[in-house]
Subunit: 264 residues, 3 copies
């Protein structure tokens, strides 16, 4: 995989405007002043590997082939957890081996995985608490300059995965849960399009979350009046619950993990 | 209008660090890996078209000629609302036809408007809830590669506009309101320089907001002691109320929409 | 100092997504459409010069030689405070002369300082409340195009500095304070590596903050179980207190300025 323009994306749980992000950007540009950095998010909830894994699966496949994605949600920094270089479809990633690849790997098996072991690619001193700056950034700089990843370390075939909530369908009932609350307060579930195959979209389907309910599955928010609770299949292919023109999370007081059921 | 370097700015209400922004960046770079993306803001209050319209008018005219500004504050996504390509002064915009152009159009009439109707420019599948990723981003990629906008769709002469608060001057009194609270807690009003023509700047002018008052109109925060309530003409040419070295919004408990009066 | 690729970083207290940042980016790119802008942070607490000074010292030295850093934390905008062009090690800065250089200058004396006095480099009109857009941005554009800084204004040898907290060591006791709470809720102190020279790392050292205490100094968070209070030397070379896998700031209710003592 190669990349005519060296696009490198950054995803972390460091917080927007964090000095840790700034130092990583500096170390990366110091290693490759021609890298083109793209901030994906620094708002992954702190140390929330599952949220990071879901974020990556919704975003990286939109990028041009060969893009390098650096993802640092890394509560185990400084421990014996490994760091991986991964080729997945036509994308490349650097990330800790802590489950952050779980959702991507569920969609499709990586085609290549290497464990970062060769310190020649790293900063000469490595702070045990900041591998983002001292390992991920210099390695990303080298890779974005076109250095062959073969020298990073040995190939591996396995990685850590996390148990994820799994929506299920039995008879005329689907059970899932809210896995993400987006910036509009929409409640995104783990109920994917494949589970919804053949489910009626009209009012004969009842969608419930906690003590709230709505009927029918729509295509866009604009199909119902303002302030209505609505179920629809969102842009990531998952069922979501929304209040038209307002925040379902705030209006309904629903949090991540809340159960969602469909019956018809 | 052309642009030697393909600068594309992004303004949304998706929230900083939102995965929707990340996916849009991916789709845009996938269509044009040489686009130079500039984040303007992803902190427009959710679905607040008026705030977005005001934001654009304060910012885009500072960019080099030919810059393409993608602005997505789009509560009607998926409805029959149109999407516009607009040429305004020497700038270009892509935005929903929902009033987001209101403030810019008040300053100056657009020189060209096209309605996006040609799906050849779009992603092959369009999610009804995410035109930012599936229409705006691919169209921006094409435009930033220099493709002639004529193929986007038909020209139009009208667009949606929103009624905005209008400050007024009668005799020796001006009435307006707080239209924005900036990140310092300064209270920015809709009272522009043109209304302030000939108004005394000394202590004979009384500026009041809710039950608070101050006298005189100053040029910079530093002209009064710390913790003083001060009125001045801000960098956008509007009268604002500020507490020197602190947040007027928090200290005074004032919100957007509060009435502001000047008398002299 | 020169820079093959014109990297310009931005650090402000304007808030992420602020229209002031957007306007600065526009003015900068209007002056040099080839500038490569890097957001460092717009989350410096409003008007908190000390926090800005600490931020710069943790971040800018990671960038490639010749990088230009524009730092605007500027409560005195519009007053007679000066604006400086500074060369420090192999980095260049533009910042108000209000103490924002304090931490960098403590580490190493700048090699060159000029006062911005020549309005030929500025926007033709300068809003007294927004030098970021009307002075810093156009000057940064010129500098990033390779214009010789000699024309900016006269050289100076002194600058404003702020009194900073200073950790001290007397006998077998070190006293310092919490100077930063990072995005994970870790409590970063002003106790640097040089003060910790020869201090035991084992359980014979007691680290206390308010009524909380812990024993030993570790290298990484992963050396202790989840939810443990731990002391370690962070990636910036300062002692910090952390709760493994959680926020020490929230769990302990500690704020910036809290006293931290080590005894052994």
């Amino acid at each position: 995989l190669s990349n005519p323009r060296p696009i490198v994306t950054l995803t972390t749980d460091f917080g927007e405007g964090s000095r840790y992000v700034a130092a990583m950007k500096g170390a990366l540009l110091d290693g490759n002043p021609d890298a083109y950095l793209v901030d994906l998010s620094h708002s992954i909830p702190p140390q929330d590997i599952v949220a990071g894994a879901r974020f990556l699966t919704e975003t990286i496949s939109w990028f041009p082939p060969g893009t390098l994605h650096v993802a640092v949600v890394d509560p185990g920094v400084g421990s014996s957890r490994k760091i991986l270089y991964v080729e997945w479809r036509d994308q490349r990633l650097l990330l800790p081996d802590n489950g952050l690849m779980t959702c991507l790997a569920e969609r499709e098996k990586p085609t290549r995985m290497l464990v970062l072991e060769n310190p020649d690619w790293w900063h000469r001193e490595v702070a045990p608490t900041f591998h983002g700056r001292d390992i991920f950034a210099p390695v990303a700089a080298h890779l974005s300059r076109g250095r062959d990843p073969v020298g990073l370390g040995p190939a591996v075939n396995t990685m850590e995965t996390l148990p994820l909530s799994k929506a299920s369908r039995v008879g005329q009932k689907i059970e899932g849960e809210v896995v993400e609350i987006d910036s509009f307060g929409n409640l995104v579930t783990d109920i994917g399009q494949e589970l919804l195959d053949g489910v009626p979209r009209d009012e004969s389907v009842r969608v419930a979350c906690d003590e709230h309910e709505t009927f029918g599955i729509f295509s866009s928010y604009s199909e119902q009046p303002s302030m209505t609770l609505i179920a629809l299949v969102g842009s990531g292919g998952k069922l979501e619950l929304a209040i038209v023109d307002d925040s379902a999370a705030i209006m309904l007081g629903v949090r991540r993990g809340a159960k969602v059921t469909l019956e018809w």
